[in-house]
Amino acid sequence: MARAATHLGPAVAAALTALVVLLEPGAARANPPDTYGFASRETAMGNAASADSRGFAAGYYNPANLVLSKGLEIGVGYFRADHHFTMNGRDNGVDPVKGLNGGIVAPGRLFGIPFAFGLVVHLPDDRISRVRALRQEQPRWELYDNRNQRLYLAANLAIQPFPWLQIGGGLSFMSSTRGSLDISGSANVLQPDDSQLRHEVDADLTAIRYPQAGARVALSERIAVAAVYRGEFQLGLDLGAHLAGDISGLTTARYDLQTHSVNNFLPQQVVLGGSWLLTRDVRASFDATWINWSAYVAPVAQLDVLLDIPPPAGGWPATITPPQTPAPTRIAPLRMHDRFVPHVGAEWRALGTRKLDGFVRAGYEWAKSPIEAQTGLTNYVDRDRHTFSVGLGVTARGLARELPAAVSLDVHAAISELLDDTTRKTSAADFVGDYTARGRIVNLGLVLTVAFDGWGGKKEEQP
């Protein structure tokens, strides 16, 4: 009982913290882990981690695994994924994704049932969120350019009703954006400095939550299987602009613009995976992720524009051509296909002593591009991706009397190759024309984890 009570304290505190977070619609949140992995151990193992994720990383890979933690765990790490994406052999300057990865797992017991609360976050260090609205014709690396420039946050609970069964679930958070811009006053086209304009910006971030849930079943002491579901979300962007006033006393002008787009779309996903402890020191794992890309909504803005500038008395001056109301965009559909993405990983405990464990890890995943060949008007560029990853880990116990915990340091390096391919346009009169495209992602990172119980007491093998 004393042990249970000790664990319940931080768990309840963490749950209360999560409740506050749940009720607070804040900054935009998203899911770069889908692309680059989350935490170094799991990334090094090819993200084949639904049955085998550890510590706070379980908050992304499979919430059920949170309850496998035996004590309070805090992890913090950093990763950086550099994109080297080229079209026609020239670099497109796609921004890197980088930032802090971290989380906390607080296990305990509730009515005698083991449970755990977990909170995970990816905090980018360049921006909290980025919104981009591009013309549908403009070539862009659709799955890498903008979607991953976001903060990711998830809060989960897990229980273990039976020793062989773990169940978990929670919420991830995003925020959609609504904004308006009002400008009114007088514009002096001859002496712009004399213009008197007032502007008002009103932006609102509205929280969107999407679910995730998972289960893990230990078939034996060495084999476990898992299933995970991650929900779909659409991150809307609604912007409005209203301009009204007079132009140098010649005439009045009124301009109303309303735009709506889905700035970020996360398809729902189902993961089936397994983990097998082949020998005392070697573990293999496998995941297959089904991604519902066919539901993808292209991030093209729908415009509704009203422009009213009546001609001044006597007509327009010779040097002024009045603007005309732009036509709405004919949005070309973006066709994508559902995909299965296989992941495999392996971990070898190369060093095992009473105070120190050392691990060597490797993994691989293959993601066939879900985007149809861009032979028409649009240019949502993507290519098939092979990712090879390696990593090292070390866990030390009993480092100091003041630090009664196990401390782990994991590092990873992953290289993704997006295969060279040529896009051939059907129409010779396309403004973009044929192009070749390829890419490489170099992903490096490390995670420091402190486990205040469990790992430090005795070494336990998870099946």
Binding site: V76, G77, Y78, T86, M87, N88, R90, D91, N92, G93, V94, D95, K98, G99, L100, L123, D125, D126, R127, I128, R130, L134, Q138, P139, R140, W141, D145, N146, Q149, V305, A318, T319, T321, Q324, T325, A327, P328, A396, L399, A400, R401, E402, L403, V407, L409, T422, T423, R424, S427, A428, A429, D430, F431, V432, G433, D434, Y435, T436, L448, V450
Partner: protein, 374 residues
């Protein structure tokens, strides 16, 4: 000694944790990129040059209210570089002639109205009986050591050759292409030639007649034979015709119909091999609608046979009777030179040569001084 053993690992862990946190402290980033070096066919859409990108009144790069410069043709300087050799039609002593000017940056042309006291020299005037009194539609092409200057006149399309880099030209005595009276669509004398090289060295010419654009071929430039884009029919059709008007009800609110329903004219052909290895004939042209408004369009085809397909959107449209496009590809983009109206006031509007650039997101540096010679 013992404190070293106990404290150092803890300090190291704290230091590492701090090191992990520090890179994440920044919360505001740059606008970001991802749109560098994007692929393009190099033919627009174009934006007209801005005030600080030309030495005179933007977007005009060659203007004179008496010479009325128009119908530009452009040639990159021999050996490459950022400059441009510009040929155009100008009015001299009541007749239209072909003049030549030069720029070191594609924007500051010798002899424009801001380059006081300078006048571009005449390189070609009507002198042969078949030419009548005026010349029009120049097009220049460098082939081996020669500069070929194709032009239109009263009796068809002629050719002049230069072996000194395009300063002095020697005319072929007879036109290289004349109207085919049997052709149902060649309702006017052929005009506005534009010539490109096939990969095997043959010359292909696009020309305008009536309301359409046709194509002809020659081995040496001395005489052109028409090319049929559709050999399955007995007639020789044009490679580009005016677009049909939009179907009633097919347009969205504020959407405009095709811009070239009345006439297509002034072809300017440039070729390339695409990254997919396809021979690509790109053609800029003047499109005119039923109201008489004009815009610059883009049509193209893969390979050396067949009709051209058009892009529904114009590449340059400013509502100033823009016409007669000429294209100059430079590192980082393309210049478009067109004739368009320069409106001074209610009483004075005249034709001059304006310039535009693509990609539209590129900001050009400050223009260079005018060159000392043409």
């Amino acid at each position: 000694m013992s404190w070293r053993v106990v404290v150092r690992p803890a300090l190291a862990i704290c230091a590492l944790g701090l090191a992990l946190l520090v890179p994440s402290c920044a919360t505001t980033g740059a606008a970001g990129e991802g749109d560098r070096n994007l692929p393009t066919t190099g033919v627009g859409p174009f934006r007209k040059l801005a005030v600080d990108e030309v030495p005179g009144i933007a977007p005009f790069v060659l203007d004179d209210r008496t010479a009325l410069y128009r119908e530009p043709a452009v040639l990159a300087p021999e050996g490459g570089g950022d400059g441009a050799l510009l040929y155009a039609v100008g009015r001299r002593e009541g007749a239209d002639v072909i003049i030549r000017t030069r720029s070191d940056d594609g924007r500051s042309f010798f002899g424009t109205s801001g380059d006081f006291g300078k006048t571009p020299p005449v390189v070609l005037a009507a002198t042969l009986p078949w030419e009548g009194s005026s010349l029009s539609g120049p097009f220049v092409l460098r082939v081996n050591a020669e500069v070929l200057l194709f032009y239109a006149a009263e009796g068809g399309i002629g050719l002049a050759r230069s072996t000194d880099g395009g300063l002095v030209f020697r005319k072929e005595p007879a036109p290289v292409l004349t109207r085919d009276p049997a052709s149902p669509w060649e309702s006017t004398e052929v005009r506005a030639p534009s010539v490109y090289l096939l990969p095997d060295g043959r010359l292909r010419m696009l020309y305008a007649s009536g309301a359409a654009i046709g194509e002809a071929e020659s081995a040496d430039g001395a005489r052109f034979q028409r090319v049929d884009p559709d050999p399955s029919t007995p007639a020789v059709e044009p490679v580009l015709q005016p677009a049909p008007p939009a179907e009633p009800g097919s347009l969205l609110p504020n959407e405009r119909g095709p811009f070239d329903t009345a006439r297509v004219d002034d072809p300017c052909a440039v070729t390339r091999v695409t990254p997919a290895g396809r021979f690509h004939v790109r053609v800029l042209y003047t499109g005119i609608d039923a109201t008489g408004a004009s815009a610059i369009g883009f049509a193209a085809r893969y390979g050396d046979a067949g009709p051209l397909v058009r892009n529904a959107a114009p590449v340059y449209s400013v509502g100033a009777r823009e016409a007669a496009p000429a294209l100059l590809e430079v590192p980082g983009g393309s210049y478009l030179y067109v004739q368009q109206n320069r409106r001074i006031d209610e009483r004075l509007t005249y034709t001059a040569i304006a310039a535009a650039f693509a990609p539209g997101t590129v900001k050009l540096p400050t223009p260079l001084p005018f060159p000392d010679s043409p």
